[in-house]
């Protein structure tokens, strides 16, 4: 229909005077800052954060299970090396994950701090002046009235104050006007929510820096003290002083696991005695979901199992009684367990060492010569053991697991198999040299974990205020109402225009209509012309 005009060449920009280098850098930095704190960037960073967390759940993580990572290295040696270079087995402590959340939090600070300041001002300031065209607001109405302008606005103000609005009257360009606002808590919640996220991150980081965690398997009747040398495994933050851990010692007196009829475990409880420094020992029972909480430290039962015990009688009559070692459960439903008892100091020579490697069944059943477990309760404890003698290699300098034998020692012929047997409690087997190994009994062990996390309570506080902020931010409506009086077009009386702007709700219509109806009734009631008339007479 219409011909399009050829694009006009853009007017050549007037060459600006070259800014000083310092100013240029500042401008560039300012632009970066603005870009980083833009909502769009924050959104992209949020997505990146979600995306970056995914490999942490799909690949084995060192923080969760060293063993799984080791297994992954065995299964995919080349791939694993590459993944490891990208920190994919330590996703949540990797530099790139940290980069994402730090950028996100910087962006958040840049966004929320100005908003907080702005909001702080707004809380103490009067509601903003009415916009020029009230009838362009999403909700609006016009009410004719006989009242004078200020009197009509008095009526509106009363109604708004009843509804807990903050109201201010101004002399506008065309007459008296009114601005009202309520729902400041919405923005307060918004600011609180975002600042609390920051507090949560800080308390998490603090907890990681000054916190530690140690775990140990303790057999009934034994105990341990809170020091990193004693734990089987531990992890500690970089700022933990390992010489000043709290002086806590714990003895495991008794461990009980109870089961339902269908052998579902219904509870695990450990009776422990603990000493804190020079205080007297105190007895307490801890269990699943029920840790011991001391000032700053917590003691948990995280697992359990059986420690079979053995007595060894040497040919010369020397007897070692009740040597035991925890066997790790390989099947939680039947508590079938595997482990090894290493006895390095049987005789004077370095090759006079003995190891009992075996399989333990709390309720054993022999099927074709193979021992299996059918019940997690110790109803008929049996072991299937292989006894080795020779050199265990414990002092070779290479670390080895306490739960399995070093296979290389066997391959090299330093450890030789002497006997194998299936034993019930009290039964024994005799080695070729005359040594007698007796399965003397079984005790339970508990996996006990001691945790120290100074950031924890702060985290809880931050989480609670996140929630409070969120509820304020999502459920409170910020409502602004503006009103103005103008002389009626036909000269008879005045016209009250009223409009409202709401943030945080879609269904504003009914509330606004209710407000206008109340105002209309009140105006009619005050009207000097018709004090009794409740319905308005339309001026026509």
């Amino acid at each position: 229909m219409t011909t399009t005009a050829p694009p006009r060449p853009a007017a050549p920009p007037t060459p600006p005077s070259p800014p000083s280098p310092g100013r240029r850098v500042l401008t560039r930095l300012l632009r970066w800052w603005r870009q980083l704190t833009a909502m769009r960037t924050a959104l992209v960073l949020l997505f990146l954060l979600a995306l970056a967390a995914i490999p942490g759940s799909l690949l084995p993580q060192r923080s969760l299970s060293q063993n799984n990572v080791r297994q992954y290295f065995v299964d995919n040696p080349t791939l694993a090396r590459w993944l490891d270079r990208l920190y994919l087995f330590d996703v949540f402590s990797s530099p790139w994950f940290a980069a994402i959340y730090l950028l996100l939090f910087i962006s958040l600070i840049g966004c929320v701090v100005p908003r907080a300041i702005e909001h702080g001002r707004a809380v103490f300031a009067a509601p903003p002046p009415a916009p020029r065209h009230l009838l362009r607001l999403p909700d609006n109405d016009e009410l004719p009235t006989d009242l004078t302008g200020p009197a009509a606005l008095d009526v509106v103000e009363e109604e708004l104050r009843v509804r807990r609005y903050r109201v201010v009257r101004r002399q506008g360009r065309s007459g008296p006007e009114l601005s009202a606002e309520k729902g400041y808590l919405r923005e307060t919640g918004n600011v609180l929510f975002h600042l609390s996220l920051l507090a949560l991150l800080l308390s998490l980081a603090g907890g990681k820096m000054w916190g530690y965690e140690g775990s140990i398997l303790v057999t009934e009747g034994q105990g341990f003290c809170n020091s990193f040398q004693q734990y089987d495994t531990y992890s500690a933050g970089p700022l933990v002083d390992s010489s000043s851990l709290s002086p806590l010692c714990v003895d495991l007196d008794d461990f009980k696991a109870t089961y339902e009829d269908d052998l579902t475990a219904s509870s695990y409880t450990a009776d422990i005695a603990y000493e804190l420094g020079d205080d007297d020992a105190e007895d307490v029972t801890i269990g699943v979901n029920d840790p011991l909480r001391l000032d700053g430290d917590r003691v948990y039962v995280t697992g359990h199992g059986y420690s079979p015990s053995f007595s060894i009688t040497l040919p010369d009559g020397t007897t070692f009684t009740d040597l035991s070692a925890p066997f790790l459960p390989s099947d939680q439903s039947t508590m079938a367990s595997q482990g090894v008892l290493k006895v390095p100091d049987l005789g004077a020579g370095s090759t006079d060492q003995l190891a009992i490697e075996g399989f333990f069944a709390p309720t054993g059943v022999l099927q074709g010569g193979l021992l299996t477990s059918v019940d997690p309760r110790p109803l008929d404890p049996q072991v299937a053991i292989v006894v080795y003698t020779g050199y265990l290699g414990l002092d070779s300098g290479l670390p080895q697991s306490v739960y399995s034998l070093d296979q290389t020692q066997i391959d090299r012929g330093l450890l030789t198999e002497q006997a194998s047997a299936n034993l019930a409690v009290g039964e024994s087997t005799t080695l070729p040299d005359g040594t007698v190994v007796t399965f003397s009994g079984v005790q339970e062990f508990a996996a006990i974990q001691v945790s120290h996390d100074p950031g924890q309570l702060w985290m809880l506080g931050a989480a609670v205020s996140i929630l409070i902020g969120l509820i304020g931010m999502l459920l409170v409506r910020r409502e602004r109402v503006f009103a103005r009086v103008d002389p009626a077009a036909d000269g008879g009386g005045t016209v009250l225009s009223i409009g409202s702007l709401t943030r945080g709700s879609a269904d504003t219509g009914p509330r606004f209509t209710a407000l206008v109806d109340t105002v209309r009734t009140a105006l009619a009631a005050r009207s000097p012309a018709a004090p009794s008339a409740s319905e308005e007479a339309p001026p026509s």
């Binding site: 909502m39 759940s57 969760l64 579902t264 985290m459 609670v464 999502l474 459920l475």
Partner: protein
């Protein structure tokens, strides 16, 4: 300990629920198929006049037959809902515990929450009733999958779950999930509807479709947003309650266990959705996609993390 007759009653009620929900789906189908208002002539009349305003989506007067079918569908949904709630209650009574101790029970309740959320919406905003087919269809599918793939016998709780945090953490997690489930479906409908409205606005001549019976894109977008606004604090609370429980059960509030990681990812995605709706360039379809991704993350978290990965949250009860 386990009341076998109640347990089998619960299983029977499950089947009843699926049947009644399926009947509701049939009724919703019939409503959309037979109760279509005659809108086509108006569209034809507008043909050839490119400047004619796009047909407005004023609610057309509903024919009586359509109204009857719609009411029937809602009544069937209501009956199904009662039976569905009875499934949960009888299972709880049979086992003398809160019936959300394994994946079967958890997902049954998630679907229950979704149906309740839909019913509440349908009662409060009648025009949203018409999305019934698209809610109840997936619901029936989910119920069938739950029955055949996730079913476990009624049994006692494992020791780790015997804590009153189960009532707090798992209840809120199912509430959040159920609401997000509904919200995700509404966002999918929004994506379809907004595409159609764009084409109508562009002057395309479109054959009458059952989309004409659905609420406008704007209404769908608003519903999706409001449901997420409702579900997000609940989900946040569920995650926080989970962290508090984890502190007393596992010795740390947060440990990046796979379930925790995916709960975090879902939280971040829904936070992104709420931001996207107020960010220029992200309003409308992009933000709706974010909501759909959120639902995908929730489902992945339920299925993959329970069935494939190994973590501390392995309470699925499936072998």
């Amino acid at each position: 300990m386990i009341d076998e007759s109640l347990a089998s009653l619960s299983d029977t009620l499950f089947t009843v629920t699926v049947v009644v929900y399926s009947l509701a789906v049939v009724a919703f189908c019939a409503e959309l198929a037979f109760g279509r208002p005659a809108r086509a002539p108006q569209l034809v009349a507008a043909g050839g006049v490119p400047d004619a305003p796009a047909p407005t989506r004023e609610p057309a007067p509903e024919p009586a037959r359509s109204r009857r079918l719609s009411a029937l569908a809602m009544v069937l949904t209501g009956i199904g809902l009662v039976s569905h709630a009875a499934v949960v209650v009888t299972r709880g009574l049979a086992a003398h515990r809160l019936p959300w101790g394994n994946m079967f029970e958890f997902s049954t309740i998630v679907v229950l929450v979704a149906v309740v959320a839909y019913t509440v919406l349908a009662v409060r905003a009648p025009e949203l009733r018409h999305i019934g087919l698209f809610v109840m269809g997936p619901v029936v599918l989910a119920m069938a999958l739950i029955r055949f793939k996730l079913y476990v016998e009624t049994g006692p709780l494992v020791a780790a779950l015997r804590s009153w945090w189960l009532a707090v953490h798992v209840t809120t997690a199912t509430l959040g999930f159920g609401i997000f489930f509904l919200s995700g479906i509404v966002s999918v409908l929004y994506l379809v509807q907004s595409r159609r409205e764009e084409r109508v606005a562009a002057g395309d001549q479109l054959a009458p479709s059952l989309l004409d019976r659905l609420p406008s894109a704007a209404a769908l977008d608003r519903t999706a947003h409001r449901t997420v606004v409702f579900g997000f604090p609940i989900w946040t609370f569920a995650v926080i309650a989970g962290a508090i429980w984890a502190e007393s059960a596992w010795g740390r509030p947060w440990g990046w266990d796979p379930k925790e990681t995916w709960a975090f990812i879902a939280w971040v995605v829904y936070a992104a959705y709420l931001h996207a709706r107020t960010t220029s360039g992200w309003r409308g379809r992009p933000s709706a996609w974010v909501n759909v991704i959120g639902l995908a993350v929730m489902v992945f978290n339920l299925l993959y993390v329970n069935m494939v990965s190994t973590g501390l949250h392995s309470y699925g009860g499936l072998s």
